[in-house]
Amino acid sequence: MAQSANADLKTRLQNWIPKLVLSPSLAVILVFVYGFILFSVYLSFTDSRILPSYGWVGWENYSKLWRLSHWEISLTNMGIFALLYITLCTAIGLGLAIFLDQKIRGEGMLRPLYLYPMALSFIVTGTAWKWFLDPGIGLENVMHTWGWESFKFDWIKNRDYAIYTVVLAAVWQTSGFVMAMFLAGLRGIDNEILKAAQMDGASNWNLYRRIIIPQLRPAFLSAFVILSHLAIKTFDLVIALTGGGPGRATELPATFMYSYTFTRNQMGIGSASATIMLMAIAAIMVPYLYSELREKR
């Protein structure tokens, strides 16, 4: 009797341990992520300027926000940037992974070369990129000294094209990482299926299109999560590369939010923009997470 009660207690304890183990992480995330999100949403309805303050102003910050042409520019830029960045990184990453998967000699040397940009922060590489893109000293100048006088590459100085230079530098940083994810996916594919398909006379092209790429679905999804989170957080890059310029042509929501919250002392408007950003992220990520997680059950 006593023994079985004891065993009972033990199983019950065993049932609680997993939850106990999970709870610190969960508690921390609830407070430090979700609590802070609520706080920030609350601030967006207040007259906060240099520090949080609690005078309720209703929707005033939001109406001011939408009057700022600067905010619209940053939203448009986010659209262009996210679309190009995610597509290009995925395409280049997949392409390189497929090429590297062809029993390439020197793969061990090439792989770290593709991966290393991820290890560097833009505080480090920003200046180098800035110089390289600068027509007076960078690529354009080099081409001119090599005799190609008509060569022109002044995107970073042009307010209609500067955002594409931001895309270029961002793709440089992460496409190698995406390559690694796809390469891992490719290496995980069972060769027997491929051999069987080859017996049936399938061309390489068809092999990839019909069999291999569909099997990479999980890799595509992981890449999407990582890339979209990096796109939303893009901040250092813009600061280091263009400082938001020329004019305000390369502002992104993250830089907008930072500048209103911290350098312009308009914390209320900054919080309003943060709230809108979070809602946009939720609108994209929640359905995605929902479908992903439900499927895995």
């Binding site: 240099i50 520090l51 600067h70 400082g243 310029g245 308009q266």
Partner: protein
């Protein structure tokens, strides 16, 4: 708003009281002077304090002309762990004073006689509600033009003294195939030029009405349109590659004779001196044409954070060391700026420095000393940045002058 500020002040005060006594004999100083010359100059202050056995905990955070440091300061104050002294500019000091976070330095000021030697325009930022809250280190002025003397001489150009003379000088340089104006296209640099141009176009009264009193009629006036037209002229006479360039690379263009003029604050002098150039012989420094009488200034100060109700002896020692004539002279000779007190000897300064000190004293006594819009000494940060937005958009061709004037009126209104 007022009510909330007061309660907030109380909270901040309480936080300070509970946490700031940790390091008894040290001062922790947050600043953004990290490059060679500046930092070395600040080291003079550190050694001075160490001589009085006050330790110096250095907390440098560079970036964006102090913007990064201000972000850090906000985190530090919110955490209840503010530094003893913080480098700050203009309206930021008044904002923090409003939060009730700063110490009252009146005793030190009375003992050292600060009131008599610091110009009134500067006191407007160093004192809040009649209390000294910060110690000014220097006065920079922003309406300077730097010119390569050899380039000017080769093209038969004399130092221009009016806008029209400046226009013909620029055109002569252009005709000779030299880039007339070296400029870096960053918002704050565009605005620095705009400071001087607007002062010239609007005159001192107009400048004050527009940027200090934020009078919308003046902001939308024809004179303002003239100012923007002149900015457009300057835009037409910089090289194609100006956008995003650091100011010191623009200065290098003048040093190397690739360009004739640069409009920039007096910190540019350091670059010339560093390249072994001599003022008056290799390069010229003069006030922006049409603003010879006026000085638009920005002043670095160290604001002192409240240490639980009283000024500690270390803090007092720091404050009085900052305003001592010997430090003021030693620091400013290196930094390119001029002392914040008007009774310091100019013996150690070079020609440009001497002129700067003379101009400052003259402008202070004739009421021609104004805070620089571009450097946060005319209006609060929100307005300053709103002006940046318009000036830089116009400079980059997004608006014509007429639209820019309207946008300026709008932007300043939203930002208030």
């Amino acid at each position: 708003m007022r009510v909330f500020t007061k309660t907030k002040g109380a909270i901040v005060g309480a936080l300070l009281a509970s946490t700031s006594m940790a390091q008894a004999a040290d001062v922790e100083v947050l600043h953004w002077w990290t490059s060679g010359g500046e930092a070395a100059a600040l080291n003079v202050l550190k050694q001075d304090l160490e001589g009085q056995s006050v330790g110096w905990q250095d907390m440098p955070v560079a970036g964006g002309g102090g913007e990064q440091a201000m972000t850090v300061l906000r985190a530090r104050v919110t955490a209840g762990n503010p530094p003893t002294a913080v480098q700050a500019l203009g309206f930021d000091i008044l904002d923090w004073a409003d939060q009730g976070a700063l110490a009252n330095l009146n005793d030190v000021a009375a003992k050292e006689g600060w009131d008599a030697v610091v110009p009134d325009a500067l006191k407007a930022f160093a004192k809040a509600d009649g209390k000294w809250v910060s110690a000014p280190v220097n006065v920079h002025s922003t309406n300077w033009v730097w010119a390569n003397k050899a380039v000017l001489d080769a093209n038969g150009i004399a130092q221009p003294t009016s806008w029209d003379e400046f226009v013909s000088a620029v055109e002569a340089l252009k005709a000779a195939g030299v880039t007339p104006i070296a400029h870096g296209g960053q918002a704050w640099q565009d605005a620095t030029v705009f400071d001087a141009v607007a002062m010239g176009a609007l005159g001192p009264d107009g400048y004050k009405a527009a940027f200090i009193d934020l009078d919308s009629a003046t902001l939308g006036s024809d004179a303002m349109k003239t100012a923007f037209d002149r900015m457009a002229f300057i835009r037409d006479n910089v090289d194609d590659n100006f956008s995003g360039r650091d100011w010191n690379l623009a200065t290098a263009m003048v040093i190397n004779g690739e360009a004739g003029f640069q409009m920039m604050g007096d910190w540019a002098k350091g670059e010339f001196l560093n390249a072994g150039k001599v003022p008056g012989e290799d390069f010229l420094c003069f006030r922006f044409p049409g603003t010879a009488e006026q000085v638009t200034f920005n002043a670095d100060q160290f604001m002192m954070f409240d240490q639980g109700g009283e000024v500690s002896s270390e803090q007092a020692a720091l404050a009085s060391a900052i305003l001592s004539p010997s430090f003021q002279s030693a620091f400013n000779v290196v930094k390119g700026s001029v002392p914040a007190r008007t009774d310091v000897s100019d013996a150690d300064f070079d020609a440009c420095g001497k002129q700067g000190m003379k101009d400052l004293a003259a402008a202070a006594s004739s009421g021609n000393l104004f805070g620089s819009m571009a450097h946060g000494h005319a209006a609060p940060a929100s307005v300053k940045n709103a002006v940046y937005d318009v000036v830089t958009a116009h400079f980059n061709g997004e608006y014509d002058s007429e639209t820019a004037v309207q946008e300026l009126v709008d932007a300043v209104e939203i930002a208030q």
